[in-house]
Symmetry: C2
Subunit: 339 residues, 2 copies
């Protein structure tokens, strides 16, 4: 079949963005998005030095319909000569046992499954079919709940796999909208089935997709693209902030011993407020390995003292992490309890 | 009258945030927001070393009702022993002459009026009554149209007056919601009138206020606070990015002559993508004094070459600003036409 312009464009853009090679686990359900993903990656495999494995998790929610979905995926894999890894989970049981929503339990089961599939097939890459409309929904969902720059980044095109940082999670379709993806399937003669799993699972997500986004489209028909672009610009801006934090920290703070970091107080005071906060948080993260329990109010209390004329004092950032103030410097130190 | 907790809190927070002293022009209409603003600033004036002048512009849109509003403001000023500066504009005529919407023409007339009032009274400060609900609407409006971090900052609590940078524009109520402000008025025995100007002028704004925000409140009743907090965090993050751009630029770029800036290409390539873009834009701004006509695509074209292995080449950022590429450096230069 002659390639249409759209098919050429989708493949070209994905080939250009795909920097990894090796075995890739393709998460495939039976909707247009994951069929498109599998079809593109399988077509590009020789050129990109990839070996595809299709993986499908039956969530154990929809009985016979879900079994038919699994058969469909199996047939698709066989047709394209690609190995297929299918498992069946019991998401309702998992949700009940762990006291989670079906939606959360299903996501957990899915990522857990993909991780095991990758390890079993000795793959280092997992690709999922999230697209630009999913990205817009994610950003909007976070905006509604309340978020900052980190959350506005939405889903990453490439990131370590949650819970399995030795794997790389790719979202090759993130720049393509649902309509383009459906058109790709039509142009390539792919016949997706309606994926009812989403209808069952993602209540809030479905309300955002079917009620809120159409309402917002009355104000701006291009709202999905606007939200996806916001995710892009937030990603780039967030990188700058991480870089600036690192630069500022290494120029004004010195880890003098395992449990103490000394700051040049004068230089720290001249940083923008956001970097004052970020460098303090960075110090805590260096000393503790995480930021759990660190409150915004504790950081602000420390800033109040450190930006004042006080030349002595001690502020608790955490129960076991203190800031000790002196005239030209301050120390962020971790208390070590000796038995 | 004994002060309620709310009145004490509003005054305390505003007193704490008010760092400027001298004569201040208070933009007063007859709604709760600007009455509250005037009442707070007048009450704090001795303590903060401020001298208040009330300023009111009759937009010339609503005939007798607008005249009654002006009389109301005049009476309020007299009652509080504060000078009052009232002018009447013809916004519909201005809108027609300049081919602007009534909303845009009114805003222009208002800022122009405040600027003239400030200059006439030799004031350096202008205070307006935008509050947290206005901020939420501004952020939402920009989100709907499409914006990045700069736009998400919303309105600034303190900024140079647009078009009159010798004046400082303050928004002391930006942290208080409409309900608190109405309660402040009730607690202080102030009797605001309904300000119909807004109904007339701000069509999109009113749709966002009366239709969209109530829709979003069905998803999150605290959506207004969420959007106002987003503006706060975007403001802090944006400061970091401006600081990081400045730091990166001064460490890798040198203005060797009036029309040329030399970059260390190797160090520039190691910057995060966002800082690669920002430092190029900064160079153009240094050479031209503005960024008018600079396209995102031109910056990306330059980045494509500069991050490649090319050791020669020239890319146009603008008709008269070029990037000349060499192995370890590149020059952003402005063409100077000699007659």
């Amino acid at each position: 079949m002659a390639q249409t312009n759209l098919v050429t464009r989708v493949r070209w853009e994905i080939a250009r963005a795909f920097s990894l090679r090796g075995k890739v686990i393709l998460a495939v359900y039976c909707g247009a998005d994951s069929l498109c993903l599998a079809h593109v990656v399988i077509a590009l495999a020789p050129q990109l030095h990839l070996q595809s494995v299709i993986a499908h998790l039956n969530h154990g929610i929809r009985g016979a319909a879900a079994d038919a979905d699994a058969d469909f995926v199996q047939a698709f894999a066989a047709q394209h000569g690609v190995p297929c890894h299918i498992e069946k989970a019991n998401v309702p049981k998992l949700a009940a046992e762990m006291n989670l929503s079906l939606e959360t339990a299903a996501r957990m089961a899915r990522y857990d499954f993909l991780m095991r599939a990758a390890d079993q097939h000795e793959a280092k890459i997992v690709a999922v079919a999230h697209h630009a409309d999913d990205q817009a929904e994610t950003v909007l969902h976070r905006l509604m709940r309340g978020t900052g720059l980190a959350g506005l980044r939405g889903m990453a095109a490439q990131s370590p796999m949650p819970g399995a940082p030795h794997l790389t999670l790719l979202r090759p379709l993130l720049r393509f909208g649902r309509k383009d993806i459906e058109q790709y399937c039509a142009d390539c003669g792919l016949q997706p089935r309606h994926d009812a799993t989403n209808d069952d699972l993602a209540h809030t997500r479905n309300r955002i997709r079917h009620e809120l986004l159409p309402q917002l489209e009355q104000y701006n028909p291009g709202i999905r693209a606007v939200l996806a672009r916001l995710a892009d610009s937030a990603t780039t801006d967030f990188e700058i902030i991480e870089y600036a934090t690192q630069q500022a920290f290494s120029s004004i703070a010195t880890q003098t011993e395992a449990h103490a970091i000394v700051f040049d107080r004068v230089t720290w005071r001249n940083l923008p407020v956001g970097l004052q906060r970020a460098t303090l948080r960075h110090a805590v993260s260096q000393l503790k390995g995480h930021l759990t329990d660190l409150k915004f109010s504790a950081i602000e209390e420390a800033r109040d003292v450190l930006t004042s004329d006080a030349t002595t004092g001690e502020i608790a950032l955490l129960a076991d992490v203190r800031v000790r103030v002196s005239a030209g410097a301050f120390v962020v130190g971790r208390l070590v309890i000796s038995n």
